[in-house]
Symmetry: C2
Subunit: 334 residues, 2 copies
Amino acid sequence: MAITIKDIANAAQISAVTVSRILSNKEGHYSAATAAKVRKIAKNLGYRKNFAAAELVTRKNRVIAVIVSAVKTNFAEKILEGIANSAIKYGYNIVLLYVKPNNPQSQRHALQTILGRLIYGVLLVSLELTDENFQLLKTTKIPYLFISIAVKDGAAFIGSDDFQIGYQATNFLIAQGHTKIGIAGMSNSSYIGQQRVAGYRHAMKKQQLLIKDRWIQFGDFTYQAGIQAMKNYGAATELTAIIGTSDLVTIGILNTAAELNLSVPQQLSLLSIDGTQLTQIVRPQLSSITQDFYQMGYQGLRALVHQAEKKLKSHYMPFQIIERQSTSQLKSKR
Amino acid sequence: MAITIKDIANAAQISAVTVSRILSNKEGHYSAATAAKVRKIAKNLGYRKNFAAAELVTRKNRVIAVIVSAVKTNFAEKILEGIANSAIKYGYNIVLLYVKPNNPQSQRHALQTILGRLIYGVLLVSLELTDENFQLLKTTKIPYLFISIAVKDGAAFIGSDDFQIGYQATNFLIAQGHTKIGIAGMSNSSYIGQQRVAGYRHAMKKQQLLIKDRWIQFGDFTYQAGIQAMKNYGAATELTAIIGTSDLVTIGILNTAAELNLSVPQQLSLLSIDGTQLTQIVRPQLSSITQDFYQMGYQGLRALVHQAEKKLKSHYMPFQIIERQSTSQLKSKR
DNA sequence: TTGAAAGCGCTAACAA
DNA sequence: TTGTTAGCGCTTTCAA
């Protein structure tokens, strides 16, 4: 039989109510002396709070639903690790739900699973909800926060400033002398993709560089999208640099470029967005815009549980540019 | 205010107890007719069971702790996805804990976090506990199950038959004409590593092939371990085939072989163990022993919750050999 | 600052 | 097959 607050109350010769108040940190209802005594006894007895009992009466639980897109983005795990550690720290449990990418039904199913349980909040990791499912989420009144991928209409999220990512990636390549720069692999319908392209356009325009439509190759952030993009560019492309909008996209471009006998970075510079371990296990290693996914997860959960009462606001995480082997100064025009 | 069994009882003109029994599928205590009626009403009213209340009285909760090694094995995510879906299916929540690889303190911390909560069971994913920490786990009396990595002394686990993996990997290469075969990257202290090497030795011995000590290069399953192993073999190695004991190890070998001007598979065949997506994004694509990590996770949770009463027994998952581009028939002796 | 009483929603034990 | 009673461990009134 586990230790209860009654046991502590007996040992301390006070009522269970006071013990409860002390152990739940309800201030202003007890003296420091009794508090100290109670805490000491609790510790000695090895008391563990029965959360089920507490939840039953408070009608609040400490479960966060985490919905992850099962897409091959390969950075979700880092985010998850951050969320997990943060959850431990703040005393929350997790319901993990994986949804199939680009599958509204799967999304809907996940959301309904959540509705079926009393949960404290929802974290949506690299997930693009359909409008319909987003409405469903909003009607639940459960606090939610998007991580890494934002939705258009001002829903709170933690992620990177994707406009800045696109802008700075482009500027980095321009600074290396490139003028014919492509961007590839991002989803046309995603906010994140639109922002990156907007940043790219802005940088090009600012330097009065023209952009050809075909330089912008949309996709779905996957390895396949990278392959397709490079095939579309073709072996005779005039581009001297390409921004791959995910590590897998960039690797797809890299491998396809090799098939087309384009050498990286001599003939073609590649700059990848994400900066996961993948950038370092391919040859050449990929220069990248590196995001701190762990922190996104960690801060995401923290924000959700700390601000659930107030309105959640969006928050950008810093990123950095790391130069590896896939980019180089443009020597001469091809 | 949420719907409770009382509301249903009122609507159905019966007692709450009967409703409880029906909705909890306690058989043999009610007629099919009332059951049907109750279920229908429950559905119409949108009834959701209050798990906190149920847990309070049954003293059983539905939380599974999942402890994952944060090591760069890159297959943990698939296992996790399986666990997550399985948990949804069987109605369990998850506490996710990441521990640092090869860090007994981190392990201990995770275990103690678990002890602090009433949980139903523990799943340990690709984690090698120290003896001391394993003792700690055993003393808790909480059911546990290892996934993907086994411990020596007969603790229950779900994973692959690593002896068979080593054995069949070696036989595959022998069948291609190789006689000088190395194995690299596995941890010397891990059961999994020992088993794979044992399988390798057995296969070689059966074909009366000699093994040189230096053909067996231990490591820690990481990318770095692969690099180091290939450096140790050297450019002038007599080996014509190497088994990399994880995808990352094999990629490390691959990249280092390239640096040493050894071409794969013409001069050196590589066979990888794991078969994650990584095998397909490097060039050449890696032939592999492919394990079904998703199923390991899915079945693992299932086994834990279904057999918690009885003694859990170990269970092997099937694996398959998939030939890609990194292995080839041995043409001539080098 | 402390406590008594009541009840959260559910299920186990017993009774009918 | 169904119901009555009691209580899980905690927190929230309300009263002292």
